[in-house]
Amino acid sequence: MKPILQAIDVRKQYANHTALDGVSLEVPEGSIFGLLGPNGAGKTSLIRIITQITGADSGQILFRGEKLNPSHIGQIGYLPEERGLYKKMKVGEQLMYLAQLKGIQKEEARQKIKHWLERFDIKSWADKNIEDLSKGMQQKVQFIATVVHDPQLVILDEPFSGFDPINANLLKDEILAMRDRGASIIFSTHRMESVEEMCDYIALINRSKKVLDGPVRQVRDAYRTQTYEVEGKGQLMVMHPDFEVVEHKERENGHFYDRIRIVHGTPNDLLRYLIGPANVEVHTFRERVPSINEIFIQRVRETQPDYVPDTDSVLA
């Protein structure tokens, strides 16, 4: 698919640290793209360059093949991690103001705002001040402000932080709906497991460098280890050289949980062995696909053997 956004060898240096060190990536049109990595990896720096808040020291950003310039501002919607609204401004006026700043004419903006307020069933709030709304309500308004101008590219920085579970779900639905309408979404988060089921593509960033990227399925396939989870009943004793038990747990009433890696052969060979020679009752048999989180840790360890994931950021 044609990329809506390309970053080519982007570098950004701050006074005493490097935020981005030659990052290149492509966001395919009409996809949900996960920009993942621990806190401080450089995600927000990259986003701020894409949203033209700051500029890159070197490298290029292309929007639909064109060098990024202020005319693209109206096609990008941005929900920053640090977000807020004017407290003393009415919901309707505020959305109108933010939409106009994106370059939409008044009349068009009015219709779009009406559409979104109706969609979220919050039309009656239009004349309320932001400060009179609950936090959850403010989040809805904040989201509308991000997408009111029908952006082709929506960038969400840590979208689920600060959103309550109901609004987070609403957000997920809206993101999928936007993708179905043809918009592209960049998702930036350090909570990798929260988005991996939604993303079509991902890029992992660590310490200002891109670690790996590609379609989610492809990435996971590449890191498959031929390991299967087996649950069942009986006394499992694996004595076959083709199979290696990675983990074995005894549970109550003679149940067990095992992780078994196939050294030689196919999953069917393993299954046949389990119900044949091993003589156990199999309840569950599924491939253990590595999570993005695990892939990230594994990938980082390849270059930094002493890497210890920061429990807050990576395993959260």
Partner: protein, 444 residues
Amino acid sequence: MSKIWLIAQREYLTRVRKKSFIIMSLIGPLLTVALFAVPVLIAKMSDNGKVVAVADAGGLFTDKLPEPKDDISFTRVSPDLATAKTEFKKSKHDALLYVPKLDISNPAGFQVFSRKGLGMSLENDINRAVNNAIESQRMQKAGIDRALLDNMKVDVDLQTVSLSDDGEKSSSTGISTVVAYVFGFLIYIFIFIYGVQIMRGVMEEKTNRIVEVVISSVKPFQLMMGKVLGIAGVGFTQLALWVILSMGISSVMAGSISPDKIAEDRAARTTAVMRPTTGKDEAAKKENVAAKFTQALKSADLNVPLLVGCFLFYFLGGYLFYGALFGAIGSAVDSETDTQQFMMPVTMPLVLTFVVSQAILTTNPNGQVAFWMSIFPLTSPIAMMMRLPFGGVPTWQLLLSMALLIAGFIGAIWIAGRIYRVGILMYGKKVTYGELSKWLFYKG
């Protein structure tokens, strides 16, 4: 550009619609009018004609009592001090003057009694009346005619004329001083009020965390300029409202408490109390003063179009210059308390000009200090406006000062824009001067 306009519009509308703005717009003129009206009113209330009882044991006022003056009239009571005192306690007289038996060449022993303390002016008036009476007696003794001497006294008005290349201009130092102060003060107060509003606005956006949403749509520079211009509009609106309302209120009030009317009232009262001729004289004198003032205002030959034009220029220029700096401060800090260290150096020249102006600018408006202050952009908005009413500012100085202010403004906007750009995205960090200077040279 249209985005700057959008931002300015928002800044303007949200502020103008605030209750505090409406209240300030109404209270401002009321306060201004009150400032002038209250002293007049108080004067009107309190001057209920003081009466001084005279116990003339020494016969100083045998021929006639002193003439009433400034609402003070004199009345004769028993020359015996003891009787006079008892009568005084019962009477409504404000003071009792006791004239002892005296030696005209060495008068002593005068006493004034009063219930409450005597006012400064009343005491002076009594003192003057006694002095006059003694002088008259001495003159009589020496054979000098009082009336003749009075005729010889002169009271000349000086018309001050400033000679410059443009020719002669008559000026009135008094009027010029007043005009200079009004202009200087207006600029001073507006820069402060609205400069701080810019700073607060920037800080509000920062603490509300809306700033990143906004600057993904507009450049930080546009956001800052929009804010500065929008708030400038608020300042102009407020100023215009003040001028219009003040004029409206004062013209309404003028009917009831104008100085002229009070003068008439006074004249009428004094006339009733004393001889009619004196009252007329008084009234004539008052009229004379009023006429003199109008005359002065006219003859001061203030170049009104130039003054108003320059005022608008320096008002706007000074405001924009300082506004940009205040905006930069707002972007660099997180809370009001952190602003102090940066406010000081910015406001210093402003406060300094205003303080120095009283000592130097108005007394020596074309001296060295005044010249330099009216050229240097940080001080020129106030300093030049305080020099201009006195006239004699060469055109080249005015043009140089204006050019430097524009250059200074552009420089300030540049510096502020660069600080602002970095500062608004900087959270929870105490900023030092060293760091600020580094921000100036950050790339894109």
